[in-house]
């Protein structure tokens, strides 16, 4: 894809809940707070909609990092969704760590609709982290490479 094959451009999927984090990303946009274009956002109704299979699927198909953003605990539009998401992701990340996948490749961050700055900062940090980890080789399907 990239014109310059030497340069590593990570593929990063960000799942954002519709009510807080997606709006936070919108605010980052309208505030012109830049973060790398490597991040692509998928809108979901709530962080609790994100199935661990989606995250593994992203890695399978070549993602180098996956981040999930939702409302702060206590602020979920659906009251309790992010509490379930929090447990699910904790366990999923723990398992990925356990099988030797670098634990920096996954992250959960609570971003409110007012936190455009935080959204942008988080994405910048995350992309930097993925750069430091390099290409994801431990959790991808070989057939999707090249």
């Amino acid at each position: 894809m990239s014109l310059n094959n030497e340069e590593f451009r990570p593929k990063i999927v960000a799942f954002c809940c519709n009510w807080c984090s997606y709006a936070g990303a919108d605010l980052a946009g309208s505030s012109r707070l830049a973060y790398p274009a490597d991040v692509k956002i998928i809108r979901v109704p709530c962080s609790c909609r994100v199935n661990p299979m989606f995250i593994l699927r992203a890695f399978e198909k070549g993602a180098d990092g996956v981040i999930l953003c939702g409302c702060h605990p206590g602020d979920c539009h659906y009251s309790t969704g992010n509490y379930y998401a929090r447990r699910r992701m904790t366990l999923l990340f723990s398992m990925l760590d356990y099988i030797g996948v670098e634990n920096g490749r996954t992250r959960v961050e609570w971003v409110s609709a007012a936190e455009g700055v935080k959204f942008s900062q988080t994405m910048n940090e995350f992309v930097e982290k993925i750069h430091s980890l390099g290409k994801n080789v431990r959790l991808g399907d070989l057939r999707c490479r090249n």
């Binding site: 198909k61 070549g62 399907d141 057939r143 999707c144 090249n146």
Partner: protein
């Protein structure tokens, strides 16, 4: 007849692997399976049976058929290349070799499966006699002599030495290639080994298993027998028996979206699975009883009926050892035997 000391086998493997691919039984974390020989691989010739049969040297669990590449609206299709390099499978047992013969019936008859045919054409089998057969073995029932395997090369391990006898042209060619490490010898020790093995085979608990009644004739009767109802119940519908079996040949064809195209591949399927032969209208066999029956009817009735009496079971006993519910083809045969006796 040639021989080579056991401690020189690594050198032999290195020599063969130098010019072609070599598959040997390798111990990986306590489990022995056939794998490509590499420097440092733990070759295990003492374990009688590999977990999976070596059939995947010729019929791999998954193999690519072709790849489609998509670029904008342009699609190119690239068929997978056929096997064009020679390779050797070292250490197959008589039953496994017979298993390949069963596969030949399926894949080499019209329409010929070109992927399989290419591998068969390029593969050389070195078969090893079974030094100490085990209680789950019943190859004798199918007329297989594990003391004297029929392959490109037959081999025996006797008192720390491997005896080597080429039986085909391919075998001769391999012998020539390995000549520098082989020394000529007579067959006396091998004869003694054969006799010893055959004596043990006589003592095996399953050796007196009778296949009487398992010919194509009693097809409907067998199919409708109430015995199945009782037999299948412990079956949990996993595919273990199928995947360790040297003769199971069913596969599924699937597409994988690589993001930049599609890979069409085939992979082993199991008649024990609920989605086996699933079609648009649904499934031919809707119950586990039917699927269970299919497996054994195929091996013991349909296959021999279509292949001059050749059963598609070789008595390797892997399913006997591996079934999570302790079911197996022997229990099926015996159950019918008992029922026959009762009547």
């Amino acid at each position: 007849m040639y021989k080579i000391a056991k401690e020189n086998l690594p050198a032999l493997f290195q020599l063969i692997a130098g010019e072609r691919e070599l598959y040997v039984p390798v111990n990986n974390n306590g489990q022995v399976n056939f794998a490509a020989w590499t420097e440092g691989a733990v070759v295990d010739l003492d374990t009688l049976k590999s977990v999976k049969s070596p059939k995947d040297a010729f019929f791999p669990q998954s193999e690519n058929l072709y790849t489609c590449y998509k670029d904008g609206k342009k699609i190119t299709i690239q068929p997978e290349e056929l096997q064009n390099q020679n390779f050797v499978v070292f250490g197959m047992k008589a039953c496994d070799v017979k298993g390949v013969e069963v596969l030949d019936k399926v894949f080499l008859s019209e329409p010929v499966d070109s992927f399989y045919a290419a591998r068969r054409a390029h593969g050389t089998i070195v078969a090893l006699a079974c030094h100490e057969p085990e209680e789950s073995c019943f190859c004798k029932v199918f007329g297989i002599d594990c003391a004297e395997p029929v392959a490109d090369v037959a081999a025996w391990m006797v008192e720390g030495e491997l005896y080597w006898k080429a039986l085909t042209e391919k075998g001769e060619a391999l012998t020539k290639a390995a000549a520098s490490l082989l020394t000529e010898t007579d067959e006396a020790k091998v004869e003694a080994e054969k006799a010893a093995i055959r004596a043990i085979v006589e003592k095996l608990p399953y050796s007196d298993l009778s296949l009487e009644g398992w010919n194509g004739d009693a097809l409907t009767e067998k199919f409708n027998s109430p015995v199945w109802e009782d037999l299948y119940k412990p079956c949990q519908a996993c595919g273990t028996c199928t995947f360790v079996c040297p003769t199971c040949q069913c596969y599924d064809i699937k597409d994988y979206d690589t993001g930049h195209g599609v890979q069409r591949y085939r992979c082993w399927d199991s008649c024990m699975y609920s989605d086996f032969t699933m079609m648009a209208h649904g499934n031919n066999r809707t119950s586990q009883l039917q699927r269970f029956r299919q497996r054994f009817m195929h091996k013991l009735v349909y296959f021999p009926a279509n292949n001059d009496g050749m059963y598609s079971c070789v008595g390797c006993g892997r399913c006997v050892e591996k079934c999570p519910s302790s079911l197996n083809i022997v229990k099926v045969i015996k159950a019918f035997e008992k029922q026959g006796g009762d009547q």
